[in-house]
């Protein structure tokens, strides 16, 4: 993009291995890439592809079990791969800045913000205490924080996640390094915040023609931000090229598969729309005027927090309604209220036309047979001590369905339904991958043939390709079994693929609702429009992508 093209970073034949209990795992093998001044190079891949290890190797902040086997990392003429600790100290911060993955835990909790930014200048002897403090405030201002003087005197816990990530950007850039390594800089943040931060990062680095090595799992982010994309899989570089080349005309099968799975780029619906429901049929689930207040802790001054504020919607039988919102929007609380796992402060919950807002005891338990739930984190929602068969059959046993043999048979049937091999029934969750675990959770939810399944962010803990498989499975199951879904998600791209109707929540209130295609095509509320615009992958028009024509969500 920029004219200047002196080489900042050259990684050649890099190989990194991790020592594990069962032997060495080659996390990175023969990786070569380079970053020029003013250029943004995105390394894209799924978990375990070696992308984060590559980034860590560039600043030599590898985990203790990792070892660089071979290869060179040439950073402005210095070989980082073989540098001594002292040489590394002179390089880090000064020549290369790092923006880490998770802003919530990457700042020292007991030091003031300003001090943490100024420390870079102090370490490298670039300024004395007083000047460093002034420059730190300036760096915070450049990173887009409002009231930088006040922020500099605050502690990390007083700032939101997005603000903390801006602080980390200020730390990485305060000494004006030539290269910036950003390891999933926004994957822990809400989409709208993610967009602002990435925009701002773009702006800052292009002004100073800083080179950026951007690590991301999100092809959309890479498509929007990068000058060149490096696709990695299982430790190797699969494909390299400009976004147009890689996304427009992928050469490798893996890239094609990855593209096909990425919701933000694909855009089109995964599941054909089921036949329109009869308008007067009782809804599978309806909520009216739901309100939920949480008491705030007395140490914080007391009072209450209204997490859900007058939320109403109805989900027709056999359809999918998505509740969309960012963190703190009250979407998960609404789901818990609908499931009667929490007591509403006011409002009604109707299941199949019956008011169940105040059902208790055995009637409530009977109600659970009609409503089941799939949680977002498959790594924590299955009892680690149980076998898959026992997990899947748990609701059956709870409701006394069948005898032991029949339940085992049903478990096998369910495993087949969610496309798991029968061999997993005897295993424990720890022996399964995340995707397989989520299938187990789905099988468990379906075991008692519920009318309604609440899916609480069912794919947000999974890699894109696994995500796509699970979404496909959910669609198939709905068509086969006619089950109704209440789908909770923060990811609009995903919602668009699976939902029939959508309800957008902000600060516990419904800001917009309606038919998915309709809302996505012409959002009525400014917040919805902003959410849609923040979906990564919508910035850069892609010529001739398979998914190209269906991308109607653009501003």
């Amino acid at each position: 993009m920029t004219a200047a093209s002196d080489r900042l970073l050259t990684v050649a034949d890099l190989a990194v291995t991790y020592r594990t209990r069962h032997g060495d795992v080659r996390a990175v093998r023969d990786v070569s890439l380079h970053v020029d001044s003013g250029e943004t190079v995105a390394v894209v891949g799924e978990s375990g592809s070696g992308k984060s290890t590559t980034a860590a190797a560039v600043v030599r902040l590898l985990a203790p079990a990792a070892r660089i086997e071979r290869g060179t990392i040439d950073l402005l003429g210095r070989d980082v791969a073989s540098a001594s600790q002292r040489e590394l100290q002179a390089v880090r911060g000064l020549l290369v800045g790092l923006v880490p993955q998770d802003p919530t835990v990457s700042l020292n909790p007991v030091k003031r913000i300003g001090e943490q930014v100024a420390e870079v200048l102090r370490i490298h002897g670039l300024a004395d205490r007083r000047v460093a403090a002034v420059e730190a405030v300036e760096a915070l201002r450049r990173a887009g924080l409002s009231d930088p003087e006040i922020r500099a005197r605050q502690y990390p816990h007083e700032l939101s996640g997005g603000m903390r990530q801006r602080v980390l950007i200020a730390i990485a850039l305060v000494a004006k390094p030539r290269l910036l390594v950003a390891d999933e800089p926004t994957s822990a943040l809400d989409v709208t915040v993610q967009r602002q931060i990435l925009d701002h990062l773009d702006e800052l680095t292009s002004q100073t023609s800083t080179g950026v090595l951007l690590i991301t799992h999100d092809l959309g982010v890479a498509a929007d931000r990068a000058d060149r994309i490096v696709v990695m899989s299982r430790g190797r570089v699969v494909e390299t090229g400009t976004p147009d080349e890689v996304l427009g005309a992928p050469r490798e099968a893996y890239t094609k598969a990855l593209l096909a799975a990425a919701p933000s780029l694909r855009g089109a619906r995964r599941t054909p729309v089921a036949s329109a429901p009869a308008a007067d049929a009782p809804a599978a689930l309806e909520v009216r005027g739901l309100v939920k207040d949480f008491p705030l802790p007395r140490s914080g001054g007391g009072g209450t927090l209204r997490a859900v504020d007058d939320v109403s919607f109805r989900v027709a039988r056999g359809r999918t309604l998505a509740l969309v919102g960012e963190s703190g929007s009250g979407k998960s609380t609404t789901a818990r209220l609908a499931l009667r796992l929490a007591e509403p402060t006011a409002g009604q919950v109707l299941v199949g036309g019956d008011d169940v807002s105040h059902t208790r005891g055995s009637a409530l338990r009977a109600l659970r047979r009609q409503m089941q739930v799939v949680y977002q984190n498959p790594y924590s929602s299955l009892d680690p001590r149980w076998t898959v068969e026992r997990i899947v059959a748990e609701p059956l046993r709870a409701f006394g369905v069948g005898d032991r043999r029949e339940r085992a048979a049903r478990a096998a049937e369910l495993a087949e339904l969610v496309a798991l091999p029968a061999s997993v029934l005897r295993r424990r969750p720890a022996e399964l991958s995340g995707g397989q675990r989520q299938r187990v959770a789905i099988a468990r939810a379906l075991s008692v043939r519920p009318d309604l399944v609440v899916l609480d962010e069912p794919v947000s803990a999974l890699d894109v390709s696994v995500q796509a498989q699970i979404l496909d499975l959910l669609g198939e199951l709905q068509r086969e079994l006619g089950v109704t879904y209440l789908f909770i998600s923060h990811d609009l791209a995903v919602v668009r693929q699976v939902a029939h109707e959508v309800v957008v929540l902000q600060h516990g209130r419904v800001v917009e609702s309606g038919d998915v295609e309709h809302v996505f095509a012409s959002p009525q509320h400014a917040y919805t429009a902003e959410l849609l615009a923040a979906i990564p992958g919508t910035h850069r028009p892609l010529a001739g992508t398979a998914a190209g024509p269906a991308r109607g969500g653009e501003r």
Binding site: G23, G48, E184, S381, E394, S433
Partner: protein, 333 residues
């Protein structure tokens, strides 16, 4: 004793909220999505997948090989076995009589004939240490049992019922923690009187507070975990959830604690018997043996040193096994 208390107190960690659910907006460390939070899990998946081309062995074989690679643990297990044999069949290890001696052989240093030497009455010290194992171990086991059972019940009820019950129980525990365990034991002994069993009960009761605290936090940790809510949402009755999810998952740490406690109890029981509150002489309790050697400190080092080392080795072994049960780096739980 006190050290172990503090250790456990440190492991308490931040207290879980008692409210059934805290909305994300209240949690300063809430992450916007689970994707970042589960990064390590997914990475482990990927590693697991890659390991397919590595050699896989049966779980037992792997476990055995791991054991061999840990000489410390092996030693601890061997010592524990010896201690158990000494406790239940002392004559197998030392056929002699611990109470009668040969006055002519008094105060002899360790030799091939008398491994640990002899005391002022010519009794074989090795035989006395072996036969004293039963008294000491019995007291320690009783103490652990008392402390664990009472503490676990209180912690379980407090953690699972919550609300006022929890509040009251934990306030009482707070108060009990404000009195050092050894002093609490001493106060109990003052009332209960001397003797092995009374010492055991006193040591056990003094530990109730810390055990119940750990049990409670474990129960809370498990109770608030997603799979427990999933079970509840799936329609299970609360006692089913308690018995099948909460208890088995909270029990692991309690077993670890039991092993650690046993070491602590051996220390506490021998301290009290050193102070003279255990069985009256000539019963060869370990602590009393060390106390008995005090008067010959300048001339007969073995009388205090060797029983003392026996205690050290036993406590160390219990601690090592406890750490192994806790899943020290390199072994699976």
């Amino acid at each position: 004793m006190s050290s172990l208390d503090a250790l456990r107190a440190a492991e308490r960690g931040p207290q879980q909220p008692t409210e059934e659910f805290v909305p994300t907006a209240l949690d300063p460390d809430a992450r916007a999505d689970a994707f970042a939070a589960t990064a390590t899990d997914r990475f482990a998946d990927a590693v697991l997948e890659r390991e397919d081309d590595l050699v896989h062995r049966g779980p037992w074989r792997t476990r055995l090989e791991e054991l061999v690679r840990k000489p410390g643990l092996l030693l601890a297990l061997a010592w524990s076995l010896a201690v158990l044999v000494a406790a239940f069949a002392p004559s197998l290890l030392a056929p002699g009589d611990p109470l009668s001696g040969v006055p002519a052989d008094k105060l002899q240093p360790p030799s091939a004939e008398h491994w640990f030497g002899t005391d002022q009455l010519g009794r074989d010290l090795y035989t006395r240490v072996v036969h004293g194992t039963q008294l000491t171990l019995e007291a320690a086991l009783t103490a652990v049992l008392v402390g664990l059972v009472v503490g676990a019940v209180i912690g379980l009820v407090a953690g699972f019922v919550g609300g006022v019950v929890d509040d009251v129980a934990m306030r009482v525990v707070d108060v009990l923690l404000s009195i050092p365990a050894l002093l609490l034991s001493l106060a109990l002994i003052t009332v209960l009187g001397f003797g092995t069993i009374n010492v055991a009960i006193a040591v056990g009761l003094a530990n109730v507070a810390s055990v119940s605290r750990i049990m409670r936090s474990e129960v809370l940790r498990v109770r608030t975990s997603t799979f427990v809510e999933a079970s509840h949402a799936g329609g299970s009755r609360w006692w089913t959830t308690l018995g099948q999810h909460v208890l088995p998952n909270a029990a692991g740490p309690v077993v670890v604690l039991a092993a650690l406690e046993l070491g602590g109890a051996v220390l506490a029981v021998s301290s009290l018997s050193f102070l003279g509150y255990g069985e009256p002489p000539p019963a060869p309790e370990w602590g009393a043996l060390v106390a008995g050697g005090r008067d010959y400190l300048s001339t007969s080092w073995w009388l205090t040193t060797l029983p003392g080392l026996t205690i050290v080795a036993t406590v160390l072994a219990a601690g090592r096994i406890s750490r192994a049960l806790d899943g020290d780096p390199g072994s699976n739980r």
